[in-house]
Symmetry: D3
Subunit: 333 residues, 6 copies
């Protein structure tokens, strides 16, 4: 880890009882403001001794369930409700969130591929570094919200990772189960380089993440899943009182070979199956039509395995190389 | 109507029996192609004598149900299936469709606000003019597909207009009922200037249009509605054999005062109700949260009337002045 | 004037006593909001019978003295202070104002060259039309604020026009004198086509405008001139009680031949004289240095007449054809 | 320091008596010129033996006092005036200067945060490296001009740094005093990483810098300060004959806590104080008004300390996180 | 023709003997210069009584033979060489020329489709109007240079139009023959709306135009053709002394059906024939290869007629609808 | 070399007999496709045992001779024609090729300055790394096609490098001679850092490259040179049967001092000499004319040496610092 100094300055105290709203201020010199700053809103609620939860949304700037649940929590949660501490950052990559884009408009940075970050790097790398070096070390449990964003859509699930340390994995899976999304996933991340997950787990913290629909919007249904999961997680951690509100959750797995289907043609997508529907190997998932000529046959994309449609490309147009469909396997309990 | 010559040249015959695929070629001189063209794909299928249907999609470039249903029809419909003629233009505003945007990237033209067009105007105005002056006059019935696009989402409905000529209105309503979307709407357009609808109806043609979900994507469900409606409409017109496949359709109305709700704050939308759900006057429809500060209360948007949520803003971020919600009235049969 | 309907809808009453804040809502369909709107803030303060003043800022979007004085007035002025009515629009070309640019980012429209506007034109033309057709007819006196904007800077003056109708001109000059800027100008506009001034005067209204420094900023000094002038004007109109606060004002004239100096070279400006300083014909006003080579002599720009430096180019770089300097003649009382 | 070769080639001799104008040519391959170059103008004037001064402007591309003073010097200074050598680079970050922007349009590089640079880095890093590796080692004294640029404005001051080596600091302070700007500052740089200052001082050179107003323009007054300071500095260094032309200079300090004031709201700035005016702790410095609604109260920004207003935000609009005001302390002699 | 006043002001006299260089100044208010101007360089050379030639280049901004020949002429031609008057505008659409683009970056205007222009229109329309209303009426003969620009390439030819008035046509053809390009063309323009040609001929003037290679460059060979043709034309008009320098010229015709070949596929062009080569109906002109997949067969474009390859698409990539090839017919003398 | 894993996945087998078309898939997460990919087309043709040739085009995205020759080869070459293996990548920097630009639109990466690349770098660096780490090691001989691109034009030549290992150099020169372009060059690369050449040669492979005209287009003539050279090279390597088709080739050298001529003025180029013509020291190569004023003399660019014009700037406009001309020396056999 670099010895350089991270220039981010918080305007809230982390060790004082009470509820504090403020900013993580990152100086950012640019043509339209020589001495400007990136200002990432943050709320810290602390009440006596107890565990610390770090709750994050907006890791990608076009995913809304986490920001909704967390911004509501900042407003609604009161000091006296808490035992310990809750640190809430609803919009981690705030420049991306304000732009409504996955990556930062400042430096094209995909925050969740830049961890553990650099204190003297790009603005997005500085944000990553501040979380890993300053905020995560304060936490016992970290909940990071994701959805499909503007270009993907998923069945709503919470996820924990297969980890080398069994006790660590058990902690994470228990928290993920407590979140209680309609779907649950315990997975071994294949390409974990640069992810928040990997850096947080590397510090031994209990970590859970989610995917809750997508398309660059939220619905009443998806927002409710995020809000319930947040409260459940805080109850599970002992920070809020009471028991998690539990409902059935379907365990799925997206790591077997053949789950992912990529586009070999640029064109217009005609979905033949909707999220959550079951599919058998060889079934048509969608058709891709050319868009500059009529009368030509479409390319039919067929499932490479049995399962349920757990994720799909969202925009109506498809580009060569896009991920079109994720076919997940139901997991026996 | 201008006396100037519209420069669009079709590469397909309109009066020849058989199935022909080709282009409407619009010369378009520009920096990257001095003698370039806009090429709008078109299919004409003709078989003997009978009525002519003009089927159009892509009037707005980010709406996919029409293009899917029509591009499939171009491929699948055979000459012998037809009595009369079907003219299919799946991507009317082809430059906008290729860009995945509502309006044309060539001239920022919103095609459905530029009818009846101009033969010597912008590229989008020339397209409008060609439809009104050349294609629509050939047709007996015109079906124009719309969905909510990238920024809106609607319950799926077909629509016909209240018209001064009762016989004309009766024809349109009958066709709209035959389309048989899950919802149906007979409405008096309030601001009809520049719309395809108005120009087509002005020529006395039977005209129906649709809104079928949105968000800049299609689903298996929404594509099926469009495909079934297309076939039903052609059957109703006597161009395809057989009877329309009918299911219940709920009549709704969005013209009473108070249906439309506009944003008085820029921020993040938290929907509290999903499409099709019922709402009473004063109920909270959604909340708008600030995005640059935590801890502030949201603005709650309340319904100005009883009804069902028939349309809503789609993107997770809301800008001052956006249409947030359309609350429709169910109509007694 | 076009017979078309202007789609702008106000959310405030014009004829109700009291103080009302709201919007002029202009529907504006676009890629990022199919049913979006331009929302121009407006305040109406009415108290019984009396004259109506229309106060406008932000005609150009990068000029700040008017918006500051008027936004403060919206907040501070109370119903009981007023006799008659004050209609305040601090940011006429609101899209340009939000962008910090002279012209609108929506349509590149320079509002002050598009009057009397068109109800069915571009967004900027619709705004112009709404003022001329709806707001100006309600007014007895109109005060429109200008400054130099990001690319010009002027000595602070109020202006009235030489008009064909002597009584009309007398009213305007009296109001301009009451504004009491440090400089005063009575001028015959040379190229008046499209200006708000011309359209307002064409309706017989008392009209004054200003130029108060510039450079895309405001200072404490410039803001005070605008605030004092606003109050003075309302007192002069009999809407506020009391007498205008008067100080000496220097009369100047920029209409004689040779006042304007344009750049015949692209380069870097070295000013040799500051605003308000006196100059004789042939004196060096500034030098223009090349920026891609060292060692070359500069082009010296010399005054074509005696006078004071009343306006100048602001940015450090100069482009061929830019207005570099305005040398005004002091006017004998 | 990297062992790679810096590709910049000068077209002027550094060791030949006489006055030479030319370029630092940096090869820059790009879409619009596969074998193109960045060409940074440079003048070298040498006459016998004596000290070398390196004079630089345009470190930030939107600051004009240095470029004006130095471009004039390139033209006006003759070999026989000099004892020793003067190396003049009026536009260090030439691509930024030509664009009129703080940072380079080629790579978004803020030159003054990229020292000591990299010979195999981005174009801006290569420029930084060339100065540190080639030009600065030739110099005894380095004068680097800054102003506030398009987004800031400062009272005019020259600055020297508090340095670990007392003799070194004494040399720098003496040079800074000789420059004789209206204000003078001896400061400990807080965040010195990447600055030209730090790298030059690290080589043991006498170094002074300036801030002379700003706003992206120059005035006759500000240009005169820069021109006089340049000549004074060269006299102080013994390169020009004669004594510096001295006038009173006020010593100020901006390093105590509370000097800097950052925006906690996006909106429109209403300055209540102008540059150089005195202020007491708690006094209102400016107000920030909302720009999307009328009638709301402004946010008043109050001084966190006693002092004089030494710097301020320049553009009329303010963004969350912008530096609004610098309140400096007068320093007792 | 509009009654409005064209705001363009020339800085050169048209009726004074001698050689004058200056500008056509068109006021152009914009964000980066509120009182800026477009400055179109112009040279007028007059000597006593005699005919007037108007010589124009840069009608399209990416064509260089005319600008080279005319800029050289402005420098080299002396008053005493002339009998009568020569008006030279090397860069008609100066904003486009500076940008190196076919159409104007100010308003996307294709000057040669906007004649006769509008005095109160866009900047490009104002330029068109000024030529038709002010410059062309002064002329007896007009020579307008064109080349293929960045996206087309032609064999070098001069052209005159088939006109209704036989005497008028004879004059034009004689001038075109005197220009003496390697190829010559007498054609009936098919889509003449908006062209300079049509407006100039409508005023009864002798008019010739050219196409001389293209690709956005000039060669020594192409520049020589333009320079010789200019001098020949002025000799033919009696303005320069001496006889035109004549060489063989091949007459060709591009108006028969089948001359133009448009792309029905987007991809990469493989030319099979070069400019000036002969071709028979059915011969392969080029192949279009897909660019997102290997192994697929190309689309072969075959000539629709016998002739010579007189024009072709220039860039290596081809877009659907681009003009690929012009196959001209040799014309019997 | 980094130990990180390169994420590129090929969809074709390298060790299986037969002809396979597919993609190198590089995952590329971005705003418009969260799980998108760059898809670089590749063809592998293998038949038994024998040498491997790696043939590459599109290293720069605006050069077409290589892509044409190689895309044709992918289609036309059959397994049975081959002894050994041919790996063909017609469009190495596929994003740049699709955009028609020298460097990648994804990251502004100039592929041929980024070798040996980085597996965890930018997309362009990942592509470079995959070639050096995976494809080049499979090859015995590598042929990399270049042309001048949109901004340069060269006489057609093949090139080999002067290498430290005589046997290695002999192999490369022999292959280059077998390619048999009209011109041949054996050169010591001066600034070889980052080039494909250097990395390939560093692995001991036989390497040849080319320059074959340019300007962002191809001609029938230039495409034939590339196609013949490709076949000749494969014959030379023993992969295709038969002898190379040989014609005279002129040896030239561009490494002596004075070959390169750079622009010291921005303006319009008037070429006085065409490619391949001979020139003596002091001869005028071209003239540069100003473009914002008429009547000024041009800057004449004179040759610094005797030789032939082997390369030149292509676009009609010239910018300060552009390479204008390359004057090569003929080499005695």
């Amino acid at each position: 880890m670099s010895l350089a100094h991270n220039p981010i300055v918080p305007s809230v105290p982390f060790d004082e009882d009470g509820k504090h709203h403020g900013y993580l201020r990152l100086p950012y010199s640019r043509n339209d403001s020589a001495w400007g700053s990136v200002m990432i809103p943050i709320t810290v609620i602390k009440n006596g001794h107890g565990p610390t939860a770090l709750l994050t949304g907006g890791n990608h700037g076009d995913e809304y369930e986490g920001p909704i649940a967390l911004q509501a929590l900042c407003h609604e949660l009161e000091t006296e409700d808490v035992t310990g501490r809750v640190i809430i950052v609803p919009f981690m990559n705030h420049p991306a969130f304000l732009a409504g884009t996955r990556v930062s408009p400042l430096d094209n940075g995909n925050l969740n591929r830049l961890f553990p970050g650099r204190p003297d790097g790009t603005p997005t790398e500085k944000i990553a570094d501040y979380f890993i070096r300053t905020l995560v070390p304060m936490a016992d449990i970290v909940l990071d919200f994701h959805s499909g964003g503007k270009t993907l859509e998923f069945v709503p699930f919470a996820a924990a990772h297969v980890l080398d340390d069994a006790e660590h994995q058990t902690r994470c899976v228990a928290a993920m189960m407590a979140f209680n999304a309609p779907y649950s996933m315990t997975l071994r991340e294949i390409d974990a380089v640069g992810m928040f997950d990997t850096s947080v787990e590397g510090l031994g913290k209990t970590f859970i993440s989610t995917e809750i629909y997508g398309g660059g919007t939220a619905s009443a249904r998806s927002a409710r899943i995020a809000r319930k999961g947040t409260v459940n997680t805080l109850k599970h951690a002992g920070i809020l009182k009471g028991e998690p509100d539990m409902a059935p959750s379907m365990a799925i797995d997206t790591t077997p070979a053949g789950c992912y289907h990529f586009a070999e043609l640029t064109g217009m997508m005609e979905p033949l199956l909707d999220l959550g529907e079951t599919v058998s190997e060889g079934d048509a998932l969608m058709r891709i039509w050319l868009t500059t000529i009529t009368g030509e046959p479409p390319l039919t994309v067929r499932s490479k395995r049995d399962g349920i449609l757990a994720g799909r490309h969202f925009p109506g147009l498809v580009k060569l190389g896009d991920c079109l469909a994720v076919v997940a396997s139901p997991v026996e309990a």
